[in-house]
Structure formats: C-alpha cells, structure tokens
C-alpha cells in the first residue's frame, strides 16, 4: 500500500471524536472547533452577504426619494415612502389579495396534500408510479406550468375557457383569482404531500393496529392517532408553504400580470421597481414584505414550540 497522507479530505476525517462537557479545551477539541468554523465560514459568509447586507441596504434605500428616472432628485425623506405606500389603496388591495391567495391555497393544499400523502404512503398498487408522477408538478418550472394554465383558460386557445361560465375568465377578478389558486395548488400540493408523508412514516403501524383492535374506525384512527402524531410534520409543512405562498409571483405574472386587482405584494414591488424604476418605493415594499413574513414566521414558531426544526440539539449520534 502506498503511503499517501496529504490533501484536504484527510484533514477533514482526521478530526478526533468529539467529547462533551469539558471545561478546559484540549488540543483536539480546539482543532475541532477551528475546523468546524472553517468549514462553515464560506456558506455563512455567502448567505449573510447576499441577504443580511442587502436588507440593511434596502432599509437605507427605503428612507430616500430615489427614482432612477429622476436621479438628481434623490434625497433623504425619512418615512415619507412608508407613508406613501401604506396610505395607498393599491398596496392594501395587493396585501389583501396576497393574504387571500395564501390562506385559500394553503388550506386546499393541506387537504389535498394529506390525501395525496395517504395515497403515496398506503397504495398497494403502483406506489412507484404515483410517487414519480407526483414529483412532476413539484419539479416543473412554475412559469411553464403557469403558461399551460394560461393557454388552458385563454379565450383564444383554451380547452377550459367556458368552464367557469365567465366570458374571458382571465380578464375578470374572481375567475382570475380562482385560476391563480388552481395553478398554485396544482404545483405545490405534491410538495406538501411529501412533507406530510415524512410525518406519516413516523406513525407506527402497531399503534394503528392496536387502535383498530380496540374498535376504532378508519376516520377515528385518522383523527385520533395519525393527526396528533403528525402534528410536527403538519406544522412544518404549513409554515413552509404559507411563507412560500405569501411570495407568490410567477403564476400571477404569467396569468394576469396583476391586472384587474389580482396583483400580489411581490408583483407590486416588481412593478414599482423594474417597470417604474422607483427604487425608494420598491425598497419600502421590500422592507414591508420582509416584516410581514417575519411576523408570520414568528407566529408559526410560537405555535411550533419545541418541535421547530433547528431546535434539534443533535448532530452527534
């Protein structure tokens, strides 16, 4: 055997097995801490540089009047942008629409996702097939799916045009919103189902059998055994999907471009920034969305309690 002790990987594996609870750090322990920090540093630096710094910068921009069409009028205006946005009807309409879309689609997804998870978990024929096709909506490019729905409902091309009973559904608010929800639900239900399926796999079969022996019906087993045991998985899935749905953009952009009061907050920000080239207002909206998402996340994490992902102290098993 040739002696080749060199190269990066050997350093990685050469770290001694960690020990806990020593007040004085041994050499090996110190080396381990150093290596750990070193390995994490690049990822941490990139994540902070591309998110934390821009957010701070965005707060700074949001306090200025800054329109790229009139760059010489740039000046510090404190909270004027916030007053302008928050007293604007369009913003609140967009906020209401975003909230509505988020709540409705997440609720539908939860129900459908649970059904799909049960199918993927329990089906006795073609389990591989079901799982494979379910991944297609998850994997497909959102814009591609959105175009498919757009052409399906478009009066010129669509095979579904007459289904909602409305003339040109994509030019009216309510039918448009329904179609946006449909597109959103179609695309993300499988993801929800996969997260739920992971929780479903944690429910021991013995427990279900025992419940069944004790005379519990299928529905009782579902509500009294499966749901309580899946609670952490359900909360994780809800959190991820709610925050994800709140930033809805792609589907609206393709389906309606935000016309007829179907705009979301992301769409509004895009319109002000890229179409309007108004950096001050765009940044103000960015900050407001950030705050809204932080509040939603905070509420969920309060609900999570100890089951929040990331509270896992582990790493060493």
């Amino acid at each position: 055997m040739s002696q080749t002790v060199d190269s990066g990987p050997s350093e990685v594996v050469a770290a001694p097995p960690p020990k806990r609870g020593k007040p004085i750090l041994s050499e090996g322990k110190k080396a381990e801490r150093r290596l750990g920090l070193l390995l994490c540093a690049p990822a941490a630096i990139v994540m902070v540089a591309v998110t934390a710094w821009p957010i701070i910068y965005s707060v700074w921009l949001s306090l200025q009047r800054y329109d790229l069409r009139f760059p010489d009028q740039r000046e510090f205006v404190f909270l004027d942008n916030y007053i302008a946005v928050l007293s604007d009807g369009y913003w609140w309409t967009a906020f209401g629409i975003t909230t509505l879309l988020t709540v409705v689609s997440v609720v539908i997804e939860l129900v459908l996702g649970m059904l799909l998870a049960l199918v993927m978990h329990r089906t006795i024929v073609g389990r591989g097939l079901v799982r494979t096709v379910s991944l297609i909506p998850y994997g497909i490019v959102t814009v591609v799916a959105a175009f498919s729905w757009f052409y399906a409902w478009n009066t010129d091309t669509g095979y579904l045009t007459d289904l909602l009973g409305a003339q040109a559904p994509l030019t009216q608010q309510i039918p448009s919103l329904l179609i946006i929800i449909l597109a959103e639900v179609w695309k993300t239900t499988p993801f929800m189902a996969l997260l739920l399926m992971a929780g479903l796999a944690l429910v021991p079969d013995d427990l279900l059998k025992a419940a069944s022996m004790d005379g519990a019906s299928g529905w009782q087993r579902f509500t009294k055994v499966i749901i309580p045991m899946m609670k952490p998985a359900i909360l994780v899935a809800l959190l991820f999907r709610t925050l994800d749905a709140f930033r809805i953009f792609d589907n609206i952009f393709v389906l309606t471009k935000g016309a007829n009061d179907t705009s979301s907050v992301s769409m509004q920000t895009y319109n002000n920034l890229i179409r309007g080239l108004n950096l001050g207002i765009g940044s103000t909206m960015s900050v407001l969305i950030f705050i809204a998402v932080a509040i939603i996340a905070f509420i969920f994490i309060k609900l999570f309690g100890a089951s929040a992902p990331g509270n896992d102290p582990g790493g060493k098993r």
Partner: protein
C-alpha cells in the same frame, strides 16, 4: 414498487384483495391524470400548427415540429437555454460544495455558533426573495453584476444553501461513521478511509442534494426577470415572456409551448430516474433537519 399481497388463499379473501387493488388502482389513475394534464396540454400545444392553436382541442388534429424548428433557429432561445444550463450548473456545484462542508461540520463537529448557522439557514429558507430584489438590483448595478451570470448565480447559491445544508446534514447523520474508524484500524490511511469508505456512503446524499438544488435554480423566475435585461444572462423562464409571434397578429403560443417542453425534459428525466432519491431528500431534510 408494487406490494404483492400474500394473504390467506381463500376465495373471499382473494376477491377482497382484488377489490382493494382495483380501488387503489382507480385512485392511482386520478393522481396520474391530475399530475399530467397540464404537461400534456403544453406538449399538445407545442405540436399544433399555427392555424390549429386556436381550435381549442386538447389534442392536435395535425402534428408538426415547426415550433421546435422555430425556437432552435432563433438565437433568442438558444442563448437563454445556454444561460439557464450554465447558471444552474455553476450555482449547483458551488452550493453543493459549500453546503457539504457546512453540513459535515454540523453533523459531525462541535463548535460555537452551530445553532446560529442552522437558525440563519432556516431564516433564509423562509426569506421573501422579493425583499432582496430591490437592493440587489441597485447593488448589482453599482458593482457591474447586473445582467451577468454571477449576478444570478450569487442569489441562487444563497437560496440553495439552506436546502443543501438541511438535506446534506440529514444524510450525513445517517452515515455510520464508525466504519471510518474500523477502516483505519485495519490499516487504512485517513485519505484511504475517506475515499474508500466515507465518500461512497456520502455520495448518494450529495448527488440527491445536487438534483434538488439544480431544480431550484432551474425554476427561478423572480431573480431571472428582475436582475437581467438582455440575452446576455436571461434564462429560459424569463425569456419565455419576451417571445413574440412570427407576425404581430400571431400569438407565440406554439413557440412558448415548445420551449416550455424543452426545459421540462431535464425535470422529467430526474423524476423518472431518481424518484426515490428525490423523495428521500425532500422528506429527510424537512422533518429531521
């Protein structure tokens, strides 16, 4: 995978089992139809002739490859496809390398700030991407990154990293690291132990993560449309909305659909070949993370 029910062979039980199979079979068909309809519709549109685009039929009455010929003879689509592939692959490689380093440390080492790192990546996973669009737009303009590959690669890496770190650290925790010690006891050098024992065990997790990250980068639209302005870096999802018809009276339905089909192919291939891995990756990272 098909589970074959091997129960008591009495006729009644056999009938019951068949009945259950049929019921599940019907449920399966519903799922398949649900998942495939929009895909088949796009496929159908891409094969319709320009005149048939407005006939509203689900299937083309007359098949043509003209739409595909059209997109592959214009620079617009080919450039966008090259941008999409290049940007997604580079971002995936970097994110997976950085993610592997961080995930290894999280799964195996004890160091200060570990909880912080896990917390920060969780925060970024939930971060509203649109909040970054305004500042990044301005910063990239000043740094000369606007409308370049790195200008998109950077935010992609950032948002892919939490996904990579979570999925990989979940995989790494499952690896029996004692094998490494055993190999060393048997006289393997650390490098050999890593190459022969640990790398093969870790490879599937890394590979799965790479697929998930690639799908994420491939999918992005918001950054692609906000941080690009020309063909230099516009990816396919963004380029689609700039497609124009052959004449101003003709909608670009056929060409958009053909382009949509082309960028769906890699997704279909991943799903077909790596279904099990993708499911494992998505579920492990999400729940055990």
């Amino acid at each position: 995978m098909t589970v074959i029910v091997t129960g008591p062979v009495s006729k009644a039980a056999g009938r019951k089992a068949t009945g259950r199979k049929v019921r599940w079979g019907i449920v399966d068909i519903v799922v398949v139809v649900y998942a495939l309809i929009p895909v088949l519709w796009t496929l159908s549109l891409s094969f319709k002739t320009a005149e048939a685009q407005t006939d509203k039929g689900f299937f083309p009455s007359e098949w043509t490859l003209q739409n595909y010929r059209d997109i592959f003879t214009t620079n617009e689509f080919i450039r966008a496809l090259i941008n999409s592939i290049g940007i997604a692959i580079i971002a995936t490689l970097i994110a997976v390398v950085l993610g592997t380093m961080a995930a290894y440390a999280i799964a195996r080492l004890d160091f200060p700030g570990k909880q912080l790192l896990v917390g920060v990546s969780l925060l970024i996973a939930m971060f509203p991407q649109v909040s970054l669009v305004s500042p990044l737009f301005e910063m990239e303009r000043q740094l000369g990154l606007f409308d370049t590959w790195p200008g998109l690669i950077l935010p992609y890496i950032t948002f892919a990293l939490p996904l990579a770190i979570y999925t990989l650290s979940a995989f790494f925790r499952e690896i029996p690291w004692e094998l490494e010690k055993a190999a060393k006891m048997d006289g393997a050098t650390p490098a050999q132990a890593f190459r022969r024992v640990i790398a093969p065990l870790a490879a599937p997790g890394v590979f799965t993560t790479a697929i998930l990250v690639f799908i994420f980068c491939w999918n992005d639209f918001l950054f692609a449309i906000s941080l690009t302005s020309t063909e230099a870096s516009r990816t396919v999802p963004a380029a689609l909305s700039f497609f124009t018809g052959a004449s101003q009276f003709e909608a670009p339905t056929g060409t958009i659909s053909a382009a949509a089909v082309v960028i769906t192919i890699p997704i279909i291939l991943f799903v077909l070949f790596f279904q099990r891995r993708i499911v494992a990756g998505l579920t492990s990272g999400a729940v055990k993370g």
